[in-house]
Subunit: 601 residues, 2 copies
C-alpha cells in the first residue's frame, strides 16, 4: 500500500538511554531506525536528548561532550534511509544577547534525519527551570514560532516536551498547516503526572485538530524516573496507542492526518514522497490502560531501584531488616527489581530490640527468597557508648551510636560484596528529621525517600495482595502475600524501639502525612493548614521539625521523586535559614552573624 495522501505511518521508540553513553545511545537509536525502516514507517520519533541521555547537566560543559554528540548525530544521519528520524541531541547555537550575563551556546534540539543527512533541526522553546529542571542553566531557548516540515505528502509539526505544556507553540504550528504533531519528551514521573500529561496531549490534539505522537523516555536516574507511557492520539484527541509504563516499548501505527487549509504556510522541506514497496501490515494499536495508582508508584520504585544498580554497577543490595514495614517494603522492591539472589537482608538487633522483630524479618526473607543473616553489633556499640559517656557525658539512651554501628556494618558488608546499602527511611521520617546520618540513613539509594508512611502501608498491602500469576508475569517474586501480615499490621508504636522516644510522631501517620502534603507539596502556610481542621500545635510541631532539618537532609542519599514535591533537587532550601513559617518570625539567634557580637541566650 502506497503512502496515501492523508495517512502516515508513525513509529515511536520509547527508549531507555544511559546519560553520557553517547556512542552506545547512537547504537540503540540506530537499531530503532532499522526497525522503523523494516516496518516501512514514514517517521520515527525518539525521546528528548536521546543521544546524550537526560539530564546531562554539567557534562555539557566538559570538553568534547557536545562535539562527541555532534559526531554521533552525523553517524546517525548517515544511517538514515527512507524513514524520517526525529531524534533529540544538543545543538550549538551562536551566543545571543540574553537576560543572562553568560549567553548560552547550546540548544535542546531535535534533528530530522533522512537519506543520509540532517535535513533540519528544531530548538526547544519553553525551557523548564523549576522543580527538578534546570534547563536555563544550559540552553538558549529556541526562537521559532510556528512553521512546519514537509514530510512526504504532508506538513508536520515538531515540538519538545515542555513546548506542549502551553498552547501557543502547538497552535502556531497547526495554524501554519501542520497535519500531525510529533513531540520528543523526557517527562519525569510523579503520582498523578500520567493523567496530567495525557490531558495535555489529548487537549492539544483536540484543540489543534491534529493527531499527536508523543514519545517519552524510560528509566531511572537517581532522583527522577521517566515512565515512558508514550501516547498517540487521533485528531480528536482519542488515544490510539499507549506505550508501556516504565519499560522500553515500540509503537507503530498508521495515522489519519488532519486536513488543513492553513492560514499561512512556512514549510521546511525534509523529504519527498518515496516510491514504496509493499510494507508489512501493522498490528492494531493497543490503547492499553495506564497503570492504576498504587501499581504505578510501585513500578516506579522498582524501575528506579533496578536502574540505580545498573547505572552504578552494583551487583548486590544490602538492606537492614528491622522487622518493620519500611525495610519490609524496601526488601520486597529489591527482590522484585533485581531478583532474590541479589538481595541480602541483615538484621542487627540492639539491646532493646524485641525478639519478635527478628522473627518477622526472617519470615519476610523466607517469603522473598533472599539471604538473611542476624548479627549482633553490641560489641561495637557498647564500648563506643561507654567511651562517649566518659568523655562527653550525655544520655546513654541517645541511640545514634547504635544506629551508626548498624550503618557501618551494613556499609562494610556492601563494600565487601560489590553492593550498595539501601536505607529504608520514608518521606515522613525524612521530613521530620528522624534518620541518623551514617546510621539508618546510610547507603546509596533511599528508594522510599519520597514515599510517605501512609503510602508505604498502602503499597505493602497492594503488593501482598497481588495475585501470584500477575507477579510472575512481571518477573517479580511470585509468592502469595510476600510481606507477612505480622509486619503489615504491626501498630506503628511497636516499630519504634523503646530506646527512641525522641522519634515520637506527633500524631497519627494519617494526620502527619496530610499535614506534610499540604506544607511540602501545596506550599500552604501553617495557619492555612490549621484552618482546615488540624490541631494548630501539631501543625506547628511538624513544620518546626521540617524547617530545622534541612542540613541533615542535604547529606542523605538520593531517592526517586514520586510525589509532586520531593526533597533534593525538587526543593532547594538554604541550610541554616532563619525563616519560621509558624509565627512568621525568625528564630531567636544565639550568635549574631557578625564576628563581633555574641548575644546571650
Amino acid at each position: 500500500m502506497d503512502n496515501a495522501a492523508g495517512r502516515m505511518r508513525v513509529a515511536l521508540a520509547q527508549l531507555q538511554v544511559p546519560i553520557g553513553d553517547i556512542g552506545g545511545n547512537a547504537h540503540r537509536i540506530a537499531e530503532e531506525m532499522d526497525w522503523a525502516e523494516e516496518i516501512g514507517a514514514d517517521v520515527l520519533v525518539l525521546p528528548e536528548l536521546a543521544l546524550t541521555g537526560y539530564p546531562p547537566e554539567d557534562l555539557l560543559h566538559l570538553s568534547g561532550f557536545v562535539e562527541h554528540n555532534l559526531d554521533a548525530l552525523t553517524d546517525l544521519a548517515g544511517h538514515a534511509r527512507d524513514c524520517v528520524t526525529v531524534v533529540g541531541f544538543v545543538d550549538p547555537v551562536p551566543a545571543r544577547a540574553d537576560t543572562d550575563a553568560t549567553p548560552r551556546t547550546f540548544a535542546n534540539a531535535v534533528a530530522l534525519l533522512w537519506q543520509g543527512q540532517v535535513r533540519d533541526r528544531y530548538h526547544k522553546v519553553l525551557l523548564p527551570n523549576y522543580g527538578v529542571f534546570d534547563e536555563r542553566r544550559y540552553f538558549a531557548p529556541g526562537t521559532r514560532r510556528g512553521g512546519t516540515w514537509r514530510v512526504r505528502h504532508a506538513e508536520v509539526g515538531v515540538l519538545v516536551c515542555e513546548d506542549v505544556w502551553r498552547p501557543e507553540l502547538a497552535d502556531a504550528q497547526a495554524a501554519d498547516g501542520a497535519q500531525a504533531l510529533f513531540v520528543a519528551n523526557a517527562s519525569p514521573f510523579h503520582r498523578g503526572k500520567v493523567a496530567e500529561r495525557e490531558h495535555i496531549v489529548t487537549d492539544t490534539a483536540a484543540r489543534c485538530g491534529v493527531p499527536v505522537a508523543y514519545c517519552n523516555l524510560v528509566g531511572g536516574h537517581d532522583e527522577v524516573v521517566f515512565d515512558g507511557g508514550s501516547l498517540v492520539t487521533d485528531a480528536r484527541g482519542a488515544v490510539l496507542a499507549r506505550g508501556a509504563a516504565f519499560t522500553q516499548d515500540r509503537l507503530a501505527l498508521d495515522l489519519d492526518l488532519a486536513h488543513h487549509a492553513p492560514a499561512s504556510r512556512r514549510s521546511t522541506f525534509v523529504c519527498r514522497p518515496a516510491p514504496r514497496a509493499v510494507r508489512p501490515a501493522l498490528e492494531a494499536p493497543t490503547a492499553r490502560a495506564p497503570l492504576a495508582d498504587l501499581e504505578e508508584v510501585y513500578t516506579a520504585l522498582v524501575r528506579s531501584l533496578a536502574d540505580y544498580c545498573a547505572n552504578h554497577g552494583h551487583s548486590t543490595v544490602v538492606v537492614g531488616l528491622s522487622g518493620g514495614i519500611d525495610s519490609g517494603l524496601v526488601a520486597t522492591l529489591a527482590a522484585d527489581a533485581l531478583g532474590p539472589d541479589r538481595v541480602w537482608g541483615i538484621t542487627l538487633p540492639g539491646p532493646a530490640s524485641p525478639p519478635a522483630a527478628t522473627d518477622d524479618a526472617a519470615e519476610l526473607a523466607k517469603r522473598l527468597g533472599i539471604r538473611h543473616d542476624v548479627v549482633d553489633v553490641s560489641a561495637a556499640h557498647e564500648p563506643q557508648v561507654a567511651a562517649l559517656a566518659e568523655l562527653a557525658g550525655g544520655d546513654p539512651s541517645d541511640d545514634d551510636v547504635l544506629a551508626r554501628a548498624r550503618g557501618t556494618f551494613l556499609l562494610g558488608v556492601a563494600a565487601r560484596s560489590d553492593g550498595v546499602v539501601l536505607p529504608t527511611g520514608n518521606k515522613t521520617e525524612t521530613a521530620l528529621g528522624y534518620g541518623t546520618l551514617g546510621g539508618d540513613a546510610a547507603g546509596g539509594f533511599a528508594v522510599l525517600r519520597d514515599v510517605p508512611k501512609t503510602l508505604v502501608y498502602a503499597l505493602c498491602d497492594w503488593r501482598s495482595a497481588l495475585p501470584v500469576d500477575v507477579a510472575h508475569q512481571r518477573g517479580w517474586v511470585a509468592g502469595p502475600e510476600v510481606v507477612p501480615a505480622a509486619i503489615r499490621d504491626k501498630p506503628p508504636s511497636a516499630e519504634r524501639a523503646p530506646d527512641r522516644p525522641d522519634r515520637e510522631v506527633p500524631a497519627s501517620y494519617a494526620t502527619v502525612d496530610a499535614i506534610l502534603e499540604r506544607f511540602l507539596e501545596r506550599a500552604e502556610s501553617p495557619s492555612e493548614i490549621a484552618a482546615r481542621g488540624f490541631d494548630a500545635a501539631v501543625v506547628a510541631r511538624i513544620v518546626d521539625l521540617v524547617e530545622r532539618n534541612e542540613a541533615s537532609r542535604r547529606q542523605m542519599p538520593p531517592g526517586v521523586k514520586v510525589t509532586s514535591r520531593a526533597f533534593g533537587r525538587d526543593r532547594r532550601m538554604p541550610l541554616g535559614h532563619d525563616w519560621r513559617a509558624v509565627d512568621d518570625t525568625a528564630r531567636t539567634r544565639r550568635f549574631a552573624p557578625s564576628d563581633d557580637d555574641w548575644l546571650e541566650g
Copy 2:
C-alpha cells in the same frame, strides 16, 4: 554645607544579613538608615536582597514569605526620611509570557525609599543562572533599559549585581543622563574574584564617565561566602574607598558627580533637594588595599566557618586531630573563627597510627589553646572488623570501619556538647574520592572541601608566619607559629596511615592539583591537559577517579566555594553517568539499563 549641585553624599552599608530573618533584617537596615540620616547622606546603598537575605531559594515559594518581605519594606519606607535608601527586596510582578511554561511572578528588585514612601523600584535585568546561581528559577527578568532617577539636583542610575557584568545596562543609564551609578550586590567570593570585580566596576566608571558606588553583601551561607569589599570610584574609575573584606563596614563620602549632556532623558522623580542643616564633615575615605591572596582565602574560610556555626546554632566544633596538616589547618581556622574555648580537638589513634602523630596533634592543640583528648576506638573497631570478616570476608586492611568508628565517636561527642564536627577533607582528596562517608568525611561543614592540598600547605605556612601582633589585631590566636613545623613540614607519605594504600596519590600534590585545576576549573579535556606536559597515564587516572566518585561526593557535608569551580551547587553532575572523558567512550556497563538484559563481564 548645602548639597552643591555636582556633589552627592553617598553612604554604603556593607551588611551581613541572615537568610529568612526578614524582621531582623528590617531592623538592621533601619539602623543603617539612621546612621545615613545622621551623617546627612543623600543616598544610602544596601546590598542586593538585603531584606530577605541571599540566596533565599525556595523560601520564596513558601506561603507568606514574599508578603512578609513586602510588609517589612513598607515599614522601612515609613522609616525613611531625607536620605534616599536603595535596598534590595523581592517584588511581585505580573505573570508574563516567557520562555518558561511557568511564568515567574517575582523580581529581584531594589526599592528607592524617601520620606515615608517607596518612590520607585528597579528590577534586576541580568539574572545569573550558572555556577552557584539559579536566579531564573525564581525571578522574571526586569525589562527596563536605561532611564534615570532624579535625586535632589542630580540624575542617578541604579543596577543590581549581574547587571554590571555586561556593559549595556550601565551604558544605557549613562546615555540617559545618569551622573552616578549605585549598584546593590550579593557577589560571592572566590580566589581572584575581587580583582575581577574591581576591574568590572572601575571599567564601568571609566567607560560611562560616572562615579560608581558598589555595595556588596558580607557573610557565609554554607557553600558560598560573600566578601564585602564594597567599592566607590570616581568618574575616571579611580577607587576612592574600599569596604573591609569579610566583615561589616560603612563607607561614606562626598562624590563629585559627572556632568552630562544626556542624549535622551527618561527620569523618574524620587526627591527634590531638601534644605539641609549643616552636616558633619566626613573622614577622608580610605581606599585600603584589598587583601593579598593567601590572607584573603584564609579570611574567607574563617568567615564561613564562624557563620556556619552562627547560622546553625552550634556552640562548639569538634575536630579529629590526626597530627596531619589538614586537621591542623581546620583546628587553627576554628580557633581563629570562634576562639579556642569553642574548639575541641580529639585524636583517635588506630592500630597502625604512629605515636608521633598524637604528639604532633597535642603540640598543635597546646599552641592553639584548645582542649585535646586522645581516645582509643579500637574497642569499637576491632569487633566490627571481625564480624564483617566472618560474614562477608573481605580485606581487614580496608579501613573504612576504623574511619567510621572515628566518625561515629566524633559525631557522638558533638551531639552531646551542642556542637558540630568539622571534617578535614581537602579538595584534592574530595576530587579523587578519598574520604569515607560517615568516617573522616562525617560532620556538618567541610571547610576545606574546596581547598586543594597545595593551598592547604600554603595557608598553613602563611598563618604560621603571621606576626603575633597582626593575629592579635584580628582577634585570632596570637601565638607565634601556631601550626608546628613538625606538622607543616611532614612529607605527605608520612601522613598516610600505613593501612591506607588505596589512598595513594598518583603523583606529587603539585602535579595532581595542577591537573585537577585544569580538569575541574578550566574544563580542559584529558588530552588537552596531557598536551601541556603532564603524564597521560597520570591524567587518565586522576580523571577516572573524579568521574567515578560523584555519588559519594553528593552525600558529603557542604563546604565553602573558594575556587572558580567547587563541588556541590557549583558543579552539577549526574551521579551514575557513563561519560568517560579519557577516551571519549562510555565505560563498559555491567548491567544493561533495561530490565531484560544482563550482560556478562
